[in-house]
Amino acid sequence: MNVTKKQQRQRTLKDAFLNGLTAFSSMLSVLVLTILLGYVFSKGIGLVNVDLLRNQYWSKSAIVAVEEGTQSGTFERPEDLPKEAVWSEKWGIALIDAVSHEKQALVLVERVDENSVFAATVDTSAGPNQGKSYPVVPGLQVQKIDFTDQQGNANFTGMLASETAEEMVHALDQAVSIRSVFIKTPGGGIRGSLIATLYLIFVSLLFALPIGVASAVYLNEIAKKNRFNGLIRSGIETLTGVPSIVYGLMGVSVLFPITAAFGATTTNILLGSLTLAIILLPTIIRSTEEALLVVPQSLRDASLSLGASETQTIFKITLPCAIPGILTGVLLSIGRIIGESAALIYTMGTFINDSPSLLSQGTSLAVHIWSVMSGEQPNFELACAISILILVFVLILNLTVKLISRRLNKAWY
């Protein structure tokens, strides 16, 4: 049978169409990734700065009082003060207008002269710090300043009267004496979550790494091929398919008593770490095993024939050769820890804790996102800003893993 020109052309067309279809599908994935990255970066990049990492999430309010008798003076405007800042010559303080990440107008302290009355204020709000020195420092948010005006009347100025920095300084210049300042520390930062995430990484690896590596050594070096060891292996493999939220349930039911023995009363970071340790086990075991598999048998044989015991061979020959693989496992695990959310919501709670400790509640970066997103008013900007941090970190980890595995592929032996 001969193929006619027409049939041939039809075939070519059809092929081109099918090939085009595959190319189109692949482009869809590129499109999705681009839109996702574009969205997250455009929305969150404005918030990514050192303050985000350093600040606490909850802003704390305090009323600080000016010491009796201190008075105004004449302060020279510092030369390096930014143009937008408004300087009060009488009181030696610079205020500046700002906008919070919730798009609210704020007045921040930009500079305080060291001889100003504001540099020697005392905390008057009830609490353990009452009566202690609490100077007004740059970066604080000024809610309100109480003062006595020329007629001897008590008056106030500030954001509570929705005044700008300029109006406040103007009002202050009319004042005879300052009485107290209502200040707020800046909030919206992720310092606590950052610390909690570090806790999670260290503590969960502390448990998962030895157990995982030891399991891999057993499965690859010691275990005989029998039914029981097969069961262990399939048990570990099944762990990979368990959804993370189920791990969360497991954490609160199985592991909570362990942390309670250490004195925990609520869900806590230690519980989250232990749960994560179990989530990480299959990853670490698999990557260690893959590395152990490529260690040549001749190395082990040589070590044994020289009189080393099996334990010595494992610790001094086999495991050192497998270090790149173990490292890959660790990096993959860190990526998993940073991204994990569902299991941690169950085991650590969703309360954003500014000073987390092992036995207190806290949030990892991912849970922090969940926490600000699941409220009444989801805070997309902050969520995207944290997402950027997570994405950058995960990207770096992935690249490192790629580099290491390339190294592993051209091994030295």
């Binding site: 969205y39 995982g212 189920v246 791990y247 349930l249 497991m250 991204g339 919501i345 849970v367 997570i390």
Partner: protein
Amino acid sequence: METSLRHQRNAEKLKRKMRIDKAFKYLFFLAALLSGSCILLIVLFILIKGIQPFLPGYRYGQMDLLQFLFGTMWRQDQAVYGVGYIVINTLISAFGALLLSFPISVLTALFIAKIAPRKLSAMLSTVVELLASIPSVVYGVFAAGMIVKLVKWLASLWGISTAGGSSLLAVILLLAIMIFPTITSMAVTAIQAVDHELELGSLALGATKTQTNFKVVLKSAKSGIFAGAILGLGRAFGEATAVSMVAGNKLFGPTFDLFDITRTLTSTMLAGLKETTGLDYDIRFSVGIVLMAVILVSNLILNAVKEKVGNHG
């Protein structure tokens, strides 16, 4: 010169070495046993805790098991817990995502493995890897910010109003994106593993390259591609945080309307989690059992199907 070192053997030292060897072997074995038995612990404890509400003498009042399994309403405020419609919703959203994602994934895998020039293929593999490494909360933020808007716009084209875009369709789109890298990477592996001789045979018989790709390569890789689909479906079932951000929390159901809000098993487990005691908390373990059962049963069925269509056709 000495000819033998035998007399230098120290029996005591040797014995100690053997003892250490044995001790470490036990230690390694214990570690492996611990890792291997985790899954048993998980299943056992969740079963124990999840069954409790249905046993007589339960602290907060015994629940009716049948009502729980086949109920069509979930109201925490009224202590009415029916998981039946939620199971249906979960199945709809997961299979909907698979339906959407599967063809795109397979075509992409074919493009990466066989059609694209080397550089482009490497770039696309990186894209797929990147998509796989993005954590689910980030997908959630993206879905709550962008996918929801897309759904809203689609709905307005038809003149339907949505609950701010949170809907079954948003869940399906989100899950489709999330399981795409899983299926694609499995499919790429399967396609690359196809015997080259088969392709050459097809080409020698006069088939074009494209015909070979679609009719020979894809057919031979069927089993591996199917395994990827099963894995992806598992991920779709178990995905929690991202789904919760766009599912809405429908109180009754099931939801068949694409633009209506829905509720999946995982979003139910996360919704309104505040107390750590009480019926409302314990019932989440029961939902967990149902989730595991759904995953297990659908895996078994799909594996059976895979065996059937497997590599015989």
